[in-house]
Amino acid sequence: MAGRVIVITSGKGGVGKTTTSANIGTALAKAGYKVVLIDTDLGLRNLDLLLGLENRIVYTIVDVIEERCKLRQALVKDKKNPNLSLLAAAQTRDKSAVNAEQLKEICDTLKEENDFVLIDCPAGIEQGFQNAVAGATEAIVVTTPEMSAIRDADRIIGLLEAKEEIKSYKLLLNRVRPSLIKSNDMMSVDDVVEILSCPLIGIIPEDTGIITSTNKGEPIVNDEDALAGKAYRNVAQRILGEEVPFLDLDEPKGFMAKIKNAFAKLKAKV
């Protein structure tokens, strides 16, 4: 069995790479696939926090590379889902502790026993990015509808294009705020897709639930009611090749719709 190796990258920091990795990984594992998440952000590891696994980490990716443990020993199983495991980044080392070839070797080994290997890439376009991309054949570029994030995503897409090993890359638009798009204060999904001319794999709405889910160390895909969770589940389904329509994030317009909307919000509060 040879699984798929997907790198989750963005260029800019803080757009939601790690959140996306945690959620897509959890969603795929929930769908019954064997998934390994690799945190390649050496020195700034966070994926363990988002999964609530920070207390279980004994060995890290650097320990594997420096042969202090076996690869199997370094994989931390998820609390709820045995299909999901994490290979954590070292917190006390920097990007130079690992090189691209070593990471590729790890990916190649892991994909033999898993359906998916998801790589959480550090921000930037230097060594850390080059390492993270080395073993991957697919990429998800995370961006938000902001100028700086889009510009960085464009740069990343250019770099991915130049890599022969990357067979496909898709765009994930995160933190979309429909009300701002409505009032023409935020670039719309179409604007971003047009500018980057990159196929879309998901649109994730801004959701305050992300904050609470991070606080609890529980990915939002586990919350059946959250809109962002649903959006991430849809992304996972699209990765699996299913055709799922994008969520309709448009708030209803017009006078009556506004009243209905106000009632709905009131109801939600009660």
């Binding site: 100028m147 510009r151 464009d154 250019g158 294009e161 023409n184 604007d191 006078f255």
Partner: protein, 178 residues
């Protein structure tokens, strides 16, 4: 009165479609981003772009009379290819005589430039201008030489005879994506 108009505005705002509200900061962002990405992708600085624009105007002016203010130069991405889109509002096409005259003037100008280069001594107004390379100066060259020649001396008279209809012509240069 102030209170009444406040109430009116609030009520009016409530009924107005949301699209009309707020300044369209999104379109500002989109345009700024398109420009900056164009520069990122092509490594062309604004100065070089302006120079390219000026040279294209010079070249095309020999054959057609165009609206220099409205000429648009943009990069567009189509898949993996970056296309240079040039939108040229043509006022009218020039006839054969005019084109020949313009070409002749151009050839003379080149000769003169070559002579000046040989002499390597800036003499008179023309040589001063010709030695400048920036796009603005080149525009000036084009216009000043035009007024000396028959080619562009009577554009207003000619255009009034022709129909003023501005036809848009798009010329597309393909360029490898970077």
């Amino acid at each position: 009165m102030g209170l009444l108009s406040d109430i009116y505005n609030t009520v009016a705002k409530f009924f107005r479609p949301q699209e009309e509200q707020g300044d369209a900061s999104k379109s500002v962002a989109t345009n700024r981003l398109k420009l900056v990405l164009m520069q990122d992708r092509t490594n062309l600085t604004p100065k070089i772009l302006e120079q390219m624009r000026g040279e294209l105007i010079d070249l095309l002016s020999r054959y057609v009379e165009l609206d220099k203010e409205l000429l648009e130069l943009n990069f567009e991405q189509e898949g993996n290819q970056v296309a240079l889109m040039l939108s040229i509002p043509v006022i009218r096409a020039k006839d054969e005589e005019e084109i020949e005259a313009a070409l002749k003037a151009e050839a003379e100008k080149l000769e003169q430039k070559a002579e000046n280069m040989e002499e390597a001594l800036p003499e008179g107004e023309n040589s001063d201008i010709c030695e400048e390379d920036s796009s603005d100066e080149q525009d000036m060259v084009c216009e000043s030489s035009g007024s000396d020649n028959t080619a562009m001396s009577t554009p207003e008279g000619m255009t009034s005879n022709n129909n003023q209809e501005e036809s848009q012509k798009e010329i597309q240069f393909e360029e490898q994506g970077s």
